[in-house]
């Protein structure tokens, strides 16, 4: 395991925590799982394909477990969460990294694409958060971290389906933060750097650094830890300032 930034070295800020990572077989999800484990947590890695998650788990070590889940299926989600809690000997939080993204222009978007996008991105998030939160509420503590997208704040042209679902996820996160606070549960979101396919409007003067998964990992570890004990309802942008760049990037000449 590599040391990533200042967060995961020295003090293991997630020692003793048991955390579920959905979408854990993906590029970001598996990096998150690795990072949480490096910070001292036990991790359950869940995704569509059990063998993929088990591969990731095996590469991390005995503190990791691989599980299969279909996040659009209520029973599958509830079962996955229960199994994760059982196998880890507890459950203290969720990092939700699953998403479906198929850009299509508005007038050309068919209903099936719309429904699948909403189903995976919004309903899937709802189901995972609800199942985990039910568990967390019983013990009066826990943290949810949702990976979302800047397109949820300002839509991406030619990708209104994904953008709308991302906006829904952010709003859902606010509601969860508000409703679950009395139960001792915090909820926050992370906006990563856009992937290659979405780099349409990159202003010149934002931080141009490689290493996208590490930035998400560091943010997730921070938000899950006690260092973020008063942070809830926050959308944390780790995208070099891109989403904050607005429309004025240089003085008019």
């Amino acid at each position: 395991m590599t040391e990533m930034g200042g967060v995961l070295s020295e003090q293991r800020g997630l020692d003793g925590k048991c955390l579920l990572v959905t979408g854990g077989a993906g590029v970001i999800g598996s990096a998150v799982a690795r990072g949480l484990a490096a910070a001292g947590a036990r991790v359950a890695i869940a995704d569509m394909a059990a063998d993929e998650t088990q591969k990731v788990a095996a590469s991390i070590g005995p503190q990791a477990t691989g599980l299969a889940v279909d996040i659009t299926d209520e029973a599958s989600v509830d079962n996955c969460v229960a199994t994760a809690a059982l196998k880890m000997g507890g459950l203290h939080g969720l990092v939700h990294c699953d998403a479906f993204d198929q850009p299509t222009k508005f007038l050309e978007t068919d209903l099936a694409t719309w429904e699948k996008t909403v189903d995976v991105n919004l309903t899937g998030t709802f189901l995972c958060c609800r199942a985990v939160s039910r568990h967390l509420a019983k013990q009066g503590a826990g943290v949810l971290v949702l990976l979302t997208s800047a397109t949820g704040e300002r839509p991406e042209p030619g990708n209104l389906t994904y953008s709308a679902s991302a906006a829904g996820v952010i709003n859902l996160m606010w509601s969860i933060a508000i409703e679950m606070a009395p139960c001792g549960v915090r909820a926050n979101a992370i906006v990563p750097r856009p992937t290659e396919t979405h780099q349409c409007f990159l202003p010149q003067n934002v931080l141009n650094l490689p290493g996208q998964p590490e930035d998400v990992v560091n943010a997730a570890v921070f938000l899950l830890s006690d260092e973020a004990s008063f942070i809830t309802g926050m959308t944390l942008h780790v995208d070099g300032g891109i989403s904050q760049a607005g429309y004025m990037v240089a003085p008019l000449k």
Binding site: V7, I178, P182, V206, L207, E227, S229, F230, M234, V249
Partner: protein
């Protein structure tokens, strides 16, 4: 949790309140800290906690001459500058129609002009040195309508916007700038001055049902100045128990 070993940091407004807690946290995390405050004795006393009273300085953040001179001395003493956490801020609690021009000017001078001057001087050092981290303190009041603190709210909204502008302009020099927006926070001043009724009202609006602790703001500042936050800039980090997404401030 955040390794700030060797980072050279200025904490303005470090002589009391949130600034002192932040200075202590940065020192504990391994940073070399200069504590600056309008009250020189207070600044020196904080730095004396770790045996370095000469790392406490006086600065009047409303005075360009004072700020320029201070940063020159600070950079000299530290051999450079890696981060600044700028904490000074005041409020005036009066209905809008009763706020005087003097009230307005004072709040804007300390909260906004002070932020501008200190960030500018810090940035001038950091840009020519290849990078750094600027952290300002805005407020939950910057983001929602509030009552009886119009000059404070406006100044803090301006601080948040200014911080974003700084971030975008200085990204090319490797300098990051972020604001922290606390909700009601239990500094000594607040603990002394907020009545039970006022506390109850705030608690009713904060989803987490309590005030923040200054240590929680310090943790956020330490995170933002650490390498773990290297891709975070132009951000407003809300450390408010969910207050901003939760609705209207009273």
């Amino acid at each position: 949790m955040f390794n700030l070993t060797g980072k050279r940091v200025v904490i303005t407004g470090g002589g009391g309140g949130m600034g002192t807690i932040i200075a202590r946290r940065f020192h504990a995390s391994g940073a070399v800290v200069i504590v600056a405050d309008l009250n020189e004795n207070a600044a020196r006393n904080v730095a004396a906690e770790w045996g370095a009273p000469d790392d406490g300085f006086m600065v009047d953040v409303t005075s360009e001459a004072s700020v320029v001179a201070f940063f020159r001395r600070a950079a000299d003493r530290l051999g450079g500058l890696d981060a600044i956490v700028h904490c000074p801020g005041i409020t005036v609690g009066k209905p809008f129609v009763d706020q005087t021009l003097e009230d307005w000017r004072r709040v804007i001078a300390i909260n906004l002009r002070g932020t501008f001057l200190c960030c500018r001087e810090a940035a001038r050092i950091m840009c020519s040195a290849g990078g750094g981290s600027i952290v300002t303190i805005a407020s939950s009041a910057a983001h929602r309508a509030s009552v009886n603190i119009c000059s404070y709210s406006a100044s803090k909204a301006a601080v948040a916007n200014l911080t974003r502008g700084i971030a975008l302009e200085l990204a090319q020099f490797g300098v990051r700038a972020n604001a922290i927006s606390p909700g009601p926070t239990d500094t000594e001043f607040v603990t002394r001055n907020h009545s039970a009724a006022r506390r109850a009202e705030f608690n009713a609006h904060v989803p987490m049902g309590r005030y923040g602790r200054p240590e929680e703001m310090a943790a956020a500042a330490a995170f933002l100045c650490s390498d773990a936050a290297r891709s975070i800039t132009a951000e407003v980090l809300h450390v408010d128990g969910g207050l901003v997404p939760a609705g209207l401030l009273k």
